[in-house]
Symmetry: C2
Subunit: 336 residues, 2 copies
């Protein structure tokens, strides 16, 4: 390790609107030294997630904000290069909160060992990782879809949305995805088996949704907020459930969040809108991962990752998320 350099993206400013590269500083230092009960990890892949935008803001949320000067928070998968804990060996692969850097020190109990022979490393950040858990619990626990119901998911070609739709299909639902662009719409229908897709960039979402979900929407899994949430609210079926997973259309707004003007549809349709945070389901991650792994093995669930390369490209790659340019789970590869 004597020659190794730990490059890091540290938060330099709280962004206004879309983050820019100058909101971080790119620094380098010697890799950290693990203390007792800790491991040192060479980070191999970083997970790039919409939630990162929220972590950059000041103020109360479900986790504390990243402090100015701190390494940008990021989930990652890596290889253990030094261990001071008997539960993890050098050479093991682990998932955990590693940060946007080459080397990370983690408490052994906060590093989850994975088995790379079961699935490629990026998949552990996708359908077998947080996005997978988010889709699984958000859909099944909050959305509670029943066979024959119509499930709509926005961000349908993204890491979470793609899995939400596939699980809903497995549960016997009719599934409509909303995504940006013909390629993504074709992908969710042809590759992931959705019953229909709406290209919000090219179609009148209201009209298309009425055509594809003529009996109304029973479950809406919302990743985007904004106008699309309002449009779906206007077409709820009675007793509908909306799972609020995210609002990526609003994260970079400089004019304040657009609240859903059609929320009184919740009253008319005796419907509910419920938020959730995946961390609350930590005690049940194993259950979800087992189900999803079986579905992958049986060919019933497809994993797709969008892999960018090079830690130096962290800011530009993260922006792809907010521009809707990613296709499947967005990860950044740092090393082999």
């Amino acid at each position: 390790m004597t020659d190794a350099i730990n490059h890091q993206w540290r938060l330099a400013a709280r962004p206004v609107g879309l983050p820019k590269t100058s909101d971080w500083s790119f620094t380098s230092e010697a890799p950290p030294v693990p203390g007792p009960g800790q491991v040192l990890v060479r980070v191999l892949y970083l997970s790039l997630d919409p939630a990162m935008r929220g972590w950059m803001n000041e103020g109360k949320s479900y986790v504390p904000p990243v402090g100015i000067g701190e390494v940008m928070r990021a989930l990652g998968v890596g290889r253990v290069v030094a261990s001071n804990d008997p539960s993890i060996a050098v050479g093991d692969h682990v998932v955990g909160l590693m940060g946007a850097q080459d080397y990370a020190v983690l408490a052994a109990k906060e590093a989850t060992r994975i088995e790379p022979s079961l699935a490629p490393l990026p998949t552990w950040l996708g359908v077998l990782g947080m996005p997978g858990m988010t889709a699984y619990f958000g859909l099944l626990d909050v959305g509670q879809p029943k066979p024959g119901e119509t499930v709509v998911v926005s961000g349908a070609a993204g890491a979470v949305g793609g899995l939400v739709g596939q699980i809903a299909k497995l549960k016997g639902c009719r599934v409509i995805g909303i995504a940006g662009g013909a390629d993504k719409c074709r992908y969710v229908v042809e590759d992931l088996g959705f019953d229909g897709a709406i290209d919000y960039k090219a179609e009148d979402v209201r009209k298309s949704l009425r055509a594809l979900a003529p009996k109304g929407v029973d479950v809406y899994f919302d990743n985007v907020g904004g106008d699309i949430l309002d449009t779906v609210l206007a077409q709820l079926a009675r007793g509908a459930r909306i799972a609020i997973c995210g609002a990526i259309s609003q994260y970079n707004s400089t004019e304040g969040v657009k609240g859903p003007a059609n929320y009184m549809s919740l009253l008319v349709n005796r419907a509910r809108m419920q938020g959730f945070v995946v961390f609350d389901y930590a005690a049940r991650y194993a259950e979800a991962a087992r189900d999803i792994a079986v579905w992958i093995a049986e060919g019933k669930v497809k994993a797709k990752e969008d892999v960018a390369v090079g830690l130096e490209n962290f800011p530009a790659t993260l922006l792809k998320l907010f521009k809707g340019e990613n296709f499947g789970k967005l990860v950044l590869k740092l090393a082999d």
Copy 2:
């Protein structure tokens, strides 16, 4: 009945913003003649409800709109003056959808007999009527308050809100009311036993709510929508439940409904917002009425009605609701 005249308020135009008298026409004709299985009722009191504003709009809702030219829909209590059904006798008192008129024909099965010796007639339109059912089921079924939790209700001095708070107190909750004006705030604390009240016309609701509910809001029963909903959303406790009963601040908006910009607090706080329509609980009205009647008899629940007089004053009296001028359940007395 040969001399009787049936005065009626018929919808003449769909209002834009606040209704005006000219949105109805005041007509008169001979009282209708009941057919087989029907009764003729002399309407004694009409119920004036925020929901009436929605009934005047075109478009899909939980009930069809009132048609242009039709008698304005209204609940009422009255005395049966002719009956073609063995289940109801002349002289009986009944509650039902009578419309804004002196005489109404109802199907006997849609007229609910009441016992005027148990409570004054207007009370059957208040805590023993739809507002009572709305408060009871909205709070207990949708809000699901638990002892020790903090319950906040807007429109706290209104027909529904006042009862919501009283029931929440009975269930062991800390109760904060939001109402307009010092008199109403004093009333909900001193007469109804709320733990605190916020005068939204005079106070900074955000600050006062923070002071009165320092641990956050567990249950919010929303009658008003708009800025107050947003303010409460920003101060939810984890796992909070919002029961959407109405949005009187928005019903007359000519600029579209203001959606709750802070709705992502549902995610941060793992909270839910759920709409309901009291009619869905029809099979359980008897259960609620029994509980409420017992609470009244025990002095644990107070009923308050705001009685205006004269069918000719229907439009002006209805406007009191939207100006926040009523104090307790607003009814219009037509005859003794």
